[in-house]
């Protein structure tokens, strides 16, 4: 596998999609700092903890785009055949692709943090959360990205046509984000209406004790929360909106998705008929 990684990284350094991802993430980091600076001018307080969360929505697209364009080329150009004909085992080909995707996404996320770490301390007022919690959130974000890398690698090893792969991965991420947004939106509904509401007749009514019918209760809430914690895109929305309820559980789910998708993908790839 060492040879495959050597070949893969050599290709990665010259891959436009990788450098584009790095540039986009670095720009995101810069924009977030600029926004925090602008906010500070208007008296809005930002913390480093906030800046460390804002990349998650963009991050979910990284594995999908990278796998579609970088790994998809392996199938389309037939390079994956060269590896197998050269005597490399299928597990080695699969693992090297996964490691490459993980490394590329990690580096792209790293590019986001370069401006944040450099400029962040000047435009924020401290961490905002404890260092332990910050480390847990950062670890969770990376694990969420890793879970998505596992799923996207699985897709790219099983779907041979690059165009179909790109469509499938991007649609899956968009659908996942929509689902995550919906779940977090429902979970974020207040249990009671806040304060005073104006009716259509213009009357002011005290609603502070009135139950919100959109609030998800009981068993349904558990299911919604489970889905939001389980889905990597649900996690991305939660991190982004600072709606983290079960940080450890989210990390565990990400690890589970990464392991299961790799095991399943490996099994399916071993049986796949390549053309």
């Amino acid at each position: 596998m060492h040879d495959l990684l050597r070949a893969g990284f050599s290709r990665l350094w010259r891959a436009p999609v990788f450098w584009l991802g790095v540039a986009v993430m670095a720009c995101c980091g810069g924009l977030v700092c600029l926004n925090a600076y602008d906010g500070a001018q208007r008296g809005i307080v930002y913390f480093m903890g906030d800046l460390c969360r804002y990349h998650c929505i963009v991050t979910v697209f990284l594995p999908a785009v990278f796998c579609a364009l970088f790994l998809g080329t392996e199938h389309e150009h037939g390079a994956i055949r060269n590896k197998l004909i050269a005597g490399k085992s299928r597990p080695a080909v699969y693992f090297s692709s996964l490691i490459l995707t993980l490394a590329a996404c990690l580096l792209m996320i790293g590019a986001y943090f370069v401006p944040v770490v450099i400029a962040g301390p000047f435009v924020t007022e401290g961490l905002g959360i404890g260092p332990g919690m910050l480390a847990l959130v950062l670890g969770g974000e990376l694990l969420m990205a890793a879970a998505l890398c596992g799923l996207c690698t699985l897709g790219s090893m099983l779907i041979s046509r690059k165009a179909i792969l790109a469509v499938v991965l991007l649609l899956a991420v968009l659908a996942g984000l929509a689902m995550g947004g919906y779940l977090e939106g429902r979970l974020g509904e207040p249990e009671f209406y806040p304060g005073i509401m104006m009716t259509v007749d213009g009357e002011l009514v005290d609603t502070s004790n009135m139950e919100n019918p959109s609030y998800v209760r009981g068993r349904a809430r558990e299911v919604y929360q489970f889905a939001a914690d389980f889905l990597p895109t649900g996690q991305a929305v939660a991190y982004n909106l600072d709606m983290i309820v079960h940080p450890w559980r989210m990390c565990l789910f990400s690890l589970l998705i990464l392991t299961a998708s790799t095991a399943g993908g490996l099994l399916a790839f071993r049986r796949k008929d390549l053309k």
């Binding site: 040879d3 495959l4 050597r6 070949a7 290709r11 080329t73 390079a79 060269n82 004909i85 050269a86």
Partner: protein, 304 residues
């Protein structure tokens, strides 16, 4: 005879379709083995199996003495190079970079030999030009160069001249012949361009409907396709006596016909036969090509 590749009742089934149906073949070391068959006969499927891209449904193959189920079959596969259907190259890289990439995949310690490989396939002057801007023939030659990285001694080429112009076909043919003669590389070529294959192959395997119809060496095929005069007479025994007396090489086919493998003086023959109370009924000059031999083996009606 030592064989590089042997398949035994190899089968591959895609849902309800038998792409390979108990195919048995033997590729001798040092041969240029021409795999001949119609579109859909199973040539590419066979190549995909032996390259490890797909697994057989039944049967087995032995590559350099190792069964395909052996754990160390990868070691045998390292001795082969292949171009399956389209050349497997990165279109966004130059010829040299493509070879460097394959050298890395193979784990070769240095890039020594790349210049020689590029020269061998005639791509030494392509410089930084990306493979996407190459002609079809250049891509095909680059694909062969990539397959040759690692110095294999068994090269598998699937339809290597498909879509090439006449000049490209000649270049690929000369390259294959050089590889076989100068580097002693065993070559397995699938093609349905029979005329082209007949200029290269030392052995043939005719496949149809997923199974081997006939395996034959080029010498045997030449003998089978020799120019001859087919004579139809009233008594083949009398004809044999006359031909013996004339010292002619011949083969009696039945009680009335025989093939004679040399030019004959028809007047002399007719007189000699008349003396034996035998009439000469028909004379046909026969010149069987690889194409007609293939058609006679698998039947016409569809395209080869």
């Amino acid at each position: 005879m030592e064989y590089v590749l042997q398949t035994v009742r190899l089968a591959k089934r895609y849902r309800q379709f038998n792409a390979l149906d108990g195919l048995t073949m033997n590729v001798p070391r040092g041969a240029i083995y021409g795999l001949v068959g119609r579109n859909g006969a199973g040539k590419t499927t066979l190549i995909r199996l032996i390259c490890g891209l797909q697994a057989p449904t039944a049967g087995m193959y032995v590559l350099y003495g190792r069964k395909h189920t052996d754990k160390d079959i990868d070691r045998s596969r390292r001795r082969m190079g292949a171009v399956v259907e389209t050349p497997s190259i990165y279109l966004d890289m130059s010829a040299e970079d493509n070879l460097k990439q394959q050298y890395r995949v193979l784990g070769l310690p240095s890039f020594e030999g790349i210049a020689e490989l590029l020269e061998l396939v005639g791509l030494e002057d392509t410089g930084k030009k990306k493979a996407r801007h190459f002609s079809l023939g250049m891509k095909q030659r680059l694909g062969i160069a990539v397959a040759l990285a690692g110095d294999p001694d068994f090269l598998v080429l699937d339809e290597p001249v498909n879509g090439l112009d006449p000049q490209g076909i000649i270049e690929i043919r000369e390259l294959i012949l050089r590889l076989n003669r100068e580097r002693q590389i065993t070559v397995l070529i699938s093609s349905h361009i029979l005329d082209e294959l007949s200029r290269l192959a030392t052995h043939y395997g005719f496949i149809d409907g997923g199974h081997m119809v006939k395996e034959i060496s080029a010498q045997e095929l030449e003998a089978a396709c020799r120019k001859c005069v087919r004579l139809t007479v009233t008594d083949a025994g009398a004809l044999a006596r006359v031909l013996d007396a004339l010292g002619a090489e011949y083969k009696v086919l039945d009680s009335e016909t025989a093939d004679v493998y040399q030019k004959l003086n028809v007047s002399q023959l007719t007189l000699a036969l008349a003396a034996q109370n035998c009439e000469l009924l028909d004379i046909q000059e026969r010149d069987e090509s690889l194409e007609s031999y293939f058609v006679s083996l698998v039947g016409g009606g569809r395209h080869a």
